[in-house]
């Protein structure tokens, strides 16, 4: 893999974090799945990845976090040119409508997952969002054909070949 693509999960409750990380296991061989308990820890991980030339592919955030809220964090990501392209998903049980609207308008929120979530649902959403990300940001799509939406990726691969 030429470039590390980070999947960042921000969730303060350890049991929930464990559950999400385990749900994301199918992707862990292809993406760098990292968990953080708050926005500060998330920024650290992100900083490391970016400094190593990695990309942020997907941010999966709870809203109510100690310190900065999930929406605030997503808005920040959206403002930073290095992370603006990342797909952004809110996974929460407590975000109010206003917060969510703000996430959509200001953070370019791509998806909203209500707790409690189902594993298949979460995996489906992550798969779709990461497919979008790699289609838009990655040159070599073939490594992701097995883990993401293979049909769409292969189609894109063919398209690109015919373009050149």
């Amino acid at each position: 893999m030429s470039q590390q693509i980070l999947v960042l999960c921000v969730e303060d409750e350890q049991e929930v974090r464990d559950a999400i990380v385990r749900d994301l296991e199918p992707f862990s061989g292809y993406f760098q799945v990292e968990a953080a308990e708050d926005a500060t820890a998330a920024q650290e991980v992100l900083g490391e990845t970016l400094s190593k030339g990695g990309l942020l592919g997907l941010a999966l955030c709870d809203h109510l976090l100690p310190g900065e809220t999930g929406v605030d964090f997503l808005v920040e990501l959206n403002k930073d040119s290095r992370t603006a392209a990342a797909r952004k998903v809110l996974i929460t049980g407590q975000a109010r409508l206003e917060d969510t609207i703000r996430a959509v308008n200001e953070a370019g929120l791509d998806n909203y997952i209500a707790k409690p979530w189902k594993r298949e649902e979460l995996q489906e959403i992550v798969k779709k969002q990461l497919t979008e990300f790699v289609l838009a940001n990655v040159e070599d799509l073939l490594p992701y054909v097995n883990v993401l939406d293979g049909v769409r990726l292969l189609e894109e691969v063919r398209n690109r070949k015919s373009d050149t």
Binding site: D12, Q14, E15, R17, D18, A19, R22, E34, A35, A36, E37, A41, E44, V45, L64, L65, P66, G67, Q94
Partner: protein, 691 residues
Amino acid sequence: MSEAPTFGKQCVLLLCTAEPEQVRQAMSERLSEAGGPLLSVETVTGAEELRETLQVLEERSVPIPLIVMDDALEGGRGDDILLEIHENPRYRATRKLLLSRHSSLEDLTRLLNRGALNTRLKKPAENEELAEAVRKLVTDYFLEQAPGEVEHLSEYFDPRQLSHALVASERLRRDLAAQLRTLKRSFLSVTDLSDECLEEEMIREIDRVLDRPPRETTPAGTVMFREGEPVDKIWIIIEGKVRLSRMAQDKEVVMHMESAGKIVGLLALAQRQTAFYTCRTATELTALPITLEQLDLALQASADLSVYFDTVLIRTLATRVRRSAELQVEVENLNTALSKERDQLAETLDLLQRTQSRLLETEKMATLGLLSAGIAHELNNPISAILRSAEYFAEDLEAIHRLVEGGEQLTERLRAARQLKALPTREERRFRERLGKELNDMALARRLVGIGVYKREEYEALFRGLPAGAREERLKLLERVHKLGTGLRNIHSAAERVTNIVKSLRSYARPDEFSPAFEEIHEGLEDTLLLFGPGLKNVRVERRYGKLPKVECLAAQLNQVWTNLISNSLEAMGGKGTLTIETEAASDGQHVHVRIIDSGPGIPKEVQERIFGLHFTTKQGRVQFGLGMGLSICQRIVNRHGGSIELDSRPGRTCFTVTLPVRYPGESRKKLQRPGTPAQDQQESKHGEAS
């Protein structure tokens, strides 16, 4: 009337007689002497001459106080001539004296009845007798026609006559005075008489004057006359009562009963003979009906009756006027009472509405409490099942481990995973990096840290004695076991949290709490804080709990207070800052203080004063979120506990101090009933007013 004779002006005494010259002369002298200087005597002998003389005298306007008429005249009888003269109004006042030998009674009666004769003397009249009669008649004349002259002329007049006249005039004066007194008595003196006496007098007088007119007896309930219909008589009530009423909006309004008085039909007389009231007998009635003609007659005939009647009338009308005034006052009073009642009703309505909203609030909380408790109860079962299942999973796994080779290691990893305290993600990454460098294998390091192996030595101990080919296999197995372990741990801790929430919810809501009990204030505060859950994530909660006695209270209600106050604080701080909860036993040992302090921007002074008001609104007329309603509920609950809430606020520190007595107020304790029942609500409104 002829011209009044004045002093110095000659008046004429006419002597008409057909007597021979000598006798005429003697008579004339005598008369002249008797008449005095005022009178000159003219003598005529016949009717024709008399007429001529009268003609002349009339032209000269000479008054003729007296005609002395002999019955034998030339050309006519004396009495006829006198009558003829009397017919002329000019000579009405002239005194007329007839001298006759024989006069029939008829003749004299004729003259007398016409007023044409004042004196008749029998012929031949004695000189003295004639002189005296003349003096008397002339004096009479002057007394009547020119009383002012009499004084000056007294010597010429008949002194007896004068004194008579004086006596008569005095009597007249006295009569007049008496009459005046009588009249005065009608309105003044008669007031001394009681109504009954006066009425008796009046009826007696009517009976006397009208010769006891017949009484009428009417049974009770009879309409005697009807409003607006003609009435041509009055009734003087002798016994019984009537009711006077008028129609008002299709309703008969009784105006007078006791106040009707003894005379009815009077207003009708004043009102052009149509009745003002409808008069109905209230009892059997005995009355004296009197037509207007009879009344007129009777009043003319008796001054006393006038007095009595007028007085009774005035008293009757006065009574009715008084009654009307009383009715007016009564109506005023009724209006006042009515408007007072209306105000009271409005107040009551307002109170009811407020009570209703309170009831609703109480009901809502009770329902919420019941629901929460119900949910909590329902949750206990699945949680118990989850916890128990997790326990058995662990036991079963360990049993399986005992059956496989190297199973002890698996059990050890499982237990370690279950006990493992999760590291902060940051530290985990540090371990990962270090281990990765030491092993020169980042992927392996990641997996090892994932199963809680942070050090190289640990790793080496774990795989010691295993061939390199079997290591991957073992690692996979350990990863699985670790995940089982942490999964079990997570199940346990998550279920634990649910259990705590359920417990707090139940002790918070307490739907079955109807009487105060001694409770730990701190427990209620902790339950409340726990239920705020994620709302407190960005708030530093500082607990400064003092040593408190148990407080006799309704814990669920106090939890509402803590919830409202903490909620207000969080709202004020925008969810970030420091929330300090401070408790302290008062030095008197009878009270405790609970302070909820936030680091928010503070509440403006002008808002502080109204903040506990039920209808507190901001300038825009909108209820400020989290304030107002909530605080008025707090106030009511605390008041019911016999406590108080104080507010002290400045930027950066807003402190609500709740002071509670250790003992619940005794009076309230007795009255305490199910929430939302009227007795308790009364309690509430009483406290509400006091606050």
